[in-house]
């Protein structure tokens, strides 16, 4: 029997708190899960720094990847024998679902921003390079790794296949919304996925939803909206993210200036140089990063040591609302005052904007801008979701941006009350 068709002698199941069970029958899937690159995802948290706000949010990208695989498996089960669906694409879909986050590193958002990396490029490199994952995929067919890479890169010819993994209503989002809600313990984020799966229909180049399932989709959109403000963009998590970003900047700045670290940061060197090899990239997981942060707490550089202590011991920056348009002059004055107070403003006076954490709200948008969610009407006509749903329409056009100013309030409070600099800083910040 061809490797691609091989089944395990009996079905394997993973117990899962969100989907109850994740079912595996294909040998290829089982082998992929066993590769070192996939197992590495156990050591990368799904929600990065959110565990500092929601202590339950310790789940990993491994959990999530299995969840996305399971959702796609169930969708395909429903698509069997429907028009537009080609059962030959089944294994490709399952592999792409399982492997879609393979290139994520630890705290990937901050790492990518500071060291100018792109996890999607590393996903491609793992799929196509000299890796255990590539070996498994090549056993299916020589060109199979490239097909999986194309699906994940969204450049595969069959757009229906791509849309299962990546579209406005895809398996990726359906898993992470529910999983993140479960592990953070928040009560938003829930929606009736079973219902959505039942009303999904394959079309030539996209997945659409029967109009009768509109209310289930509304719930899903509301869940995205709520999770963004309540979890993903929580101001305390943003504070942790600001400190993390500043640590990475400071370490690189010191390296560039020829600073001698007490412990040579060997795992970081290629990142400082801007060119980590695949092997070096894969070697830097969260445990390694946190080990260095622990070590850097003892560094002689005050800024690096202070920032690491803040991150490790959760002494985060405080924040105030900030309007960059109305408060530009105040910001410039604060910049000077912080310098005078001995607080390097490049590290201790930070404006964080909602766009620093890109998260895709549902927007109907403009024709040709981005493919929206389409509802399939009984007549066979497709209509964009917000044109039929008042609820979606009402949250699609609302103001969804904000800016916050992050500061080490504890350091300001330590300053003498007689200090004019302190007095003026406090006046500007708190009136």
């Amino acid at each position: 029997m061809a490797y691609r068709d091989e089944k395990l002698s009996e079905e394997k199941v993973f117990k899962d708190p969100v989907h109850r069970y994740v079912h595996v029958r294909e040998r290829v899937i089982w082998d992929l899960i066993g590769t070192s690159e996939f197992q590495r995802l156990r050591r990368v948290k799904q929600l990065g720094t959110s565990y500092l706000t929601f202590h339950g949010a310790e789940h990993s990208r491994f959990n999530h990847s299995l969840g996305v695989y399971e959702i796609v498996r169930r969708i395909i089960e429903n698509f069997k024998d429907r028009p537009h669906w080609n059962q030959e694409e089944r294994l490709l879909c399952l592999c792409a679902a399982l492997l879609h986050d393979l290139g994520h590193g630890p705290f990937s958002h901050s790492f990518e921003k500071v060291y100018k990396l792109d996890h999607e490029e590393f996903t491609q490199a793992i799929l196509l390079g000299d890796t255990e994952v590539n070996q498994v995929l090549r056993r299916v067919e020589k060109g199979f790794p490239k097909k999986v890479a194309d699906v994940i890169n969204k450049t595969y010819e069959n757009k229906l296949v791509v849309s299962l993994i990546s579209s406005q209503i895809d398996a990726d989002r359906m898993d992470y919304l529910q999983r993140d809600a479960y592990f953070t313990g928040v009560s938003y984020g829930h929606f009736d996925m079973e219902r959505i799966l039942r009303v999904m229909r394959p079309m030539e180049d996209q997945v659409v939803v029967k109009e009768s399932g509109m209310h289930a989709v509304e719930d899903y959109i509301m869940s995205r909206y709520q999770m963004y403000w309540q979890v993903y963009f929580h101001p305390v998590t943003r504070s942790a993210e600001v400190i993390l970003t500043k640590i990475l900047h400071r370490a690189k700045e010191l390296y560039d200036d020829g600073y001698t670290f007490k412990l040579e940061p060997v795992h970081f060197l290629s990142f400082f140089e801007g060119k980590p090899s695949l092997k070096e990239y894969l070697a830097l997981d969260e445990a390694v990063v946190l080990y260095y942060f622990q070590m850097w707490m003892e560094e002689e550089d005050d800024v690096l040591s202070d920032l690491c202590q803040r991150f490790v011991n959760r002494r985060l920056f405080k924040y105030i609302e900030f309007n960059p348009n109305a408060q530009m002059n105040e910001w410039m004055e604060l910049y000077k005052l912080f310098t005078k107070a001995g607080l390097n403003p490049d590290y201790y006076l930070v404006v964080d904007s909602s766009s620093d954490l890109p998260y895709d709200f549902y927007r109907p948008g403009e024709e040709g801008e981005r493919l929206p969610i389409h509802l399939l009407q009984p007549s066979g006509e497709l209509k964009e979701l917000s044109r039929l749903s008042d609820i979606v329409e009402s949250i699609s056009g609302k103001k969804r941006t904000d800016h916050k100013l992050y500061i080490p309030l504890d350091r300001l409070e330590e300053m003498s009350n007689r200090s004019k600099t302190k007095k003026r800083i406090m006046e500007i910040l708190f009136g």
Partner: protein
């Protein structure tokens, strides 16, 4: 603070207006591919390269009053028009940016349809492939757009022209 927003405002200040979100998305991507240091990350989407970061930053600039967005109803969809405001111009005065003049680039792109800019940005997305494979890839991922060999040729000429601008 807001350096990436300021770069985008510099872009808007180089033209009277930008009509269409799709056009805006593709223009910034093409400029990035011309080594103009915009920082917005792009991914390939149904209609070619698309940046969620750009969408959010533009929304932020609109909410801060730096850019105006006007929604116009078309037959089956909305179209959006963007212009830099006086507030945006004032804000920009606080920044010294090393962006080259963009007027010519923008004029050249403004003259073309969003369909053509979608083609060019898609070609640039695949530009690491050999030239003949780029065309093949475009025909595969953009089959609905029915681009012709002549369109591809025109795309290459356009890329050469815009990259030759200083």
């Amino acid at each position: 603070m807001l350096e990436n927003h300021a770069k985008l405002m510099q872009f808007f200040s180089s033209t009277e207006e930008i009509v269409g979100r799709k056009k805006l998305q593709k223009m910034i991507y093409i400029l990035k591919k011309c080594e103009i240091p915009f920082e917005e990350r792009y991914q390939f989407h149904f209609y070619g390269p698309y940046s969620e970061e750009l969408t959010l930053r533009v929304e932020e600039m609109c909410n801060l009053g730096f850019v105006t967005e006007t929604r116009e109803e078309k037959k089956n969809y909305y179209q959006y028009r963007y212009q830099l405001t006086d507030s945006g111009r004032d804000f920009l005065k606080h920044y010294e940016m090393d962006l080259p003049p963009l007027n010519q680039h923008i004029d050249l792109m403004n003259e073309r349809s969003s369909r053509f800019l979608e083609l060019v940005s898609t070609m640039l997305f695949f530009e690491d492939l050999p030239k003949e494979e780029v065309a093949e890839k475009v025909f595969t991922v953009k089959s609905a757009q029915n681009y012709s060999d002549e369109d591809i040729e025109e795309g290459w000429t356009f890329i050469e022209t815009i990259r030759g601008m200083h």
